[in-house]
Symmetry: C2
Subunit: 431 residues, 2 copies
């Protein structure tokens, strides 16, 4: 049985039928998808979900697609990993990693939003799709559009990481490098979507796109055994993800799939681009745009579209926001890899470093069940680790050479146990 959905203004509540629209024509606030929750009570059950595929499409009846929609590419259903070694290091006890560094098909949580957005691009009859992106979204749109037969234009800031550039071009997408930061790129994209009548996933398809993020929240709850965590730490670029995980949890409570609970939401940003965390710390919902200057380029959005909503969600939940330096970001990338075997991109370094600081500052209690959301893969931002590992001298393929190598390493104390050498001092990583 299908669950009906439509668009509604997030602020004034005005209703819209399903169309490629992103904001209310009366109050200019963003539109959001709402569902017939009475119908959902019948179709969106623990049993129906458990019988679904091992992908985000197990939650299809609360995603804005027709009942019979068949996604051409699997996405989502990523591991929720226990993180006892990282936990020990940062003074936590019940820490989990939601690992979208290995999200199918292009290794970031953006695959989730793109899956839903492109489904709607098909429904609305677009033949060309696109996006403005800081990298991960570019990869996801380029790869998924191929399997759906779209022409693709991807607009990015000119200084994007090489791996993210290649991982867009290789799929045959037309890449447009724009002089300026993401906010310039995004503004141009809005104009293009309107002028050319193209489906831009994060412009005129944004309400549908954003619904894909909910699946992170559904998965966390299901993977915890249908219960909500005490805290969630979420990286913030445009600010949408944190609001959508919150929406997911609310829907699960409303449908009786999990017990109600006050989940606290914590936002993570890089200090070099921290408009939302700055607002939260000031006790405000008003976002002062910033000019980004951080290695965490996937979070480098100085004027975040959902910033006010993210700030409000955090404060309403009793959470907090923090931001960390580029040095801390790099150390945290290494820390997460060395403790839990998860290699994340710079955004994941932000989330990990912020999580550590929240424990260090007592904002999260050690006994709480906390989920730290890792959203992208380290192979996409290898340049962030440039110079961090020395090129060990080579040895000849002889036992004597190897024995000498081992002896030198033991003297220098470089064995795996000691490689985990970060120390947390006053909430900052020092190595």
């Amino acid at each position: 049985m299908a669950v009906a959905y439509e668009l509604r203004c997030r602020d004034c509540g005005k209703r819209f039928k399903n169309d490629p629209l992103s904001s209310c024509d009366e109050c200019f606030s963003p539109l959001e998808v709402v569902y017939d929750m009475d119908a959902a009570k019948r179709t969106f059950t623990r049993e129906s979900i458990a019988g679904g595929p091992a992908s985000m499409w197990r939650y299809q009846s609360l995603l804005p697609v027709p009942e019979d929609y068949a996604a051409p590419t699997p996405a989502g259903w990523t591991p929720l990993l226990e993180a006892p070694r990282l936990a020990k290091r940062i003074g936590a006890k019940n820490l989990f990693i939601k690992n979208d560094a290995v999200c199918l098909p292009t290794l970031s949580f953006k695959d989730r939003v793109v899956s839903v957005a492109l489904a709607n691009a098909k429904i609305f009859g677009f033949d060309t799709v696109g996006c403005s992106s800081t990298g991960n979204l570019a990869n996801a749109v380029a790869a998924q559009a191929v399997r759906m037969g779209f022409k693709t234009y991807i607009l990015v800031p000119a200084d994007l990481e090489p791996a993210k550039i290649l991982n867009t071009q290789v799929y045959g997408a037309t890449l447009v490098r724009v002089e300026g930061n993401y906010d310039h790129v995004n503004r141009l994209s809005s104009q293009i979507a309107e002028r050319f009548h193209w489906g831009f996933v994060n412009v005129n398809l944004r309400p549908y796109y954003a619904e894909g993020s909910k699946t992170v929240g559904y998965e966390i709850a299901e993977q915890l055994g249908w219960r909500l965590p005490d805290n969630v730490v979420v990286p913030m670029a445009g600010g949408s993800l944190i609001t959508k995980i919150r929406k997911a949890f609310k829907e699960l409570v409303e449908l009786g799939l999990v017990a109600e609970k006050q989940v606290r939401f914590f936002g993570a940003q890089a200090t070099g681009c921290s408009p939302i965390s700055t607002a939260v710390k000031a006790g405000s919902d008003i976002i002062e745009p910033q000019r980004p200057n951080t290695i965490a380029r996937s979070l480098a959005i100085g004027n975040p579209a959902d910033g006010p909503y993210a700030a409000r969600a955090i404060r309403d939940s009793g959470g907090w926001a923090e931001d960390v330096s580029d040095v801390e970001i790099v150390s945290a990338i290494q820390e997460l890899a060395e403790t839990e075997g998860v290699f994340t991109e710079t955004a994941g370094g932000v989330t990990t470093a912020v999580t550590a600081r929240l424990y260090a500052h007592g904002r999260i209690s050690p006994d709480d069940v906390t989920v730290s959301c890792i959203t992208g893969n380290g192979l996409k931002t290898t340049d962030a680790l440039a110079g961090k590992y020395e090129a060990e001298r080579t040895i000849r393929p002889r036992m004597a050479d190897f024995e000498e190598f081992v002896a030198q390493h033991e003297v220098r104390g470089i064995v795996v146990d000691d490689m985990v050498s970060g120390e947390l001092v006053g909430g900052e990583y020092v190595r």
Copy 2:
């Protein structure tokens, strides 16, 4: 109910109890794990498998681990993708991609073998593990060992791709760069494993390690709806994978989970390292070692341990082997990305180019159900595509600039449809 397993010599059949051993002390042939197939008939059923996790551990009762073993890291259960656009281009109809480019946790099929090998390293009480590797295995061992508390030594040829080096070091593994090719590295590793009493996954744990590869075969059969394909195309480095997929299919037939069928196995190598395909083409099982010289470094094993068994498996099945040039490998990487949205490393370029040639040469019939095994991720070998994409000039964030950009692109014909510009001429990609 547990399924008992033990080691047995692949040639003389001598039985061994479970120990870190790789070859028969009588005839020096490799050892292999065999199972109590009567017990397996009761435990390894379609129903028990369907009720298992969405990982390779759904097949746990036919893997060499205790019944109650709990893997600390999810691995496997990768998508089997329909590939209609690639199929059309190469003259196929029923082509599937087994996509281990997105295998958890480190994006290659080596995660499967390492999962099983490290489980046994724990059982045998090793505190230090290692491997000789052409890259993917290094990544998998380094990442998975962290979550199991092992010390790790990884030996690689000194000239490995930068992303594979970084993706080993980041987990805190001790990386040992050896002057020479893989065969030198591997010989040294055998000596080290013995001298230091360490668990080397592809040396003294090799029989257990190799069993992990079977899960590729199990998954293909299950994902095809519990039937076997007509053909499988498999890349060959050491030659183990192709023999283990065959073993998997045989076990499934023996247990009555699929109907018996003559599956033909096709091996894929780079011409610059083609000892197995050379033997197959000569109608021989005798492998003449080669000195590798190819960009497909993950396949650059000049003296493949399982080469004779791979050659025999291919010929017995009625299959064939082919090898392709470095130029074809790069074109095929692009072709696969542009048609199916899958970005693979050089080894996947080998498999894709060989698959195309097999159709072009009439060795595979268009109507056959064929599975092409993609085993690693393109983000690990980005250097292979160096210079393949021009850095488009940047535009200013203005509509006029964008309109000019689009107009120029349309004149040059560079839109997505035409980007797929490879043509297959006589079984070789030309671009």
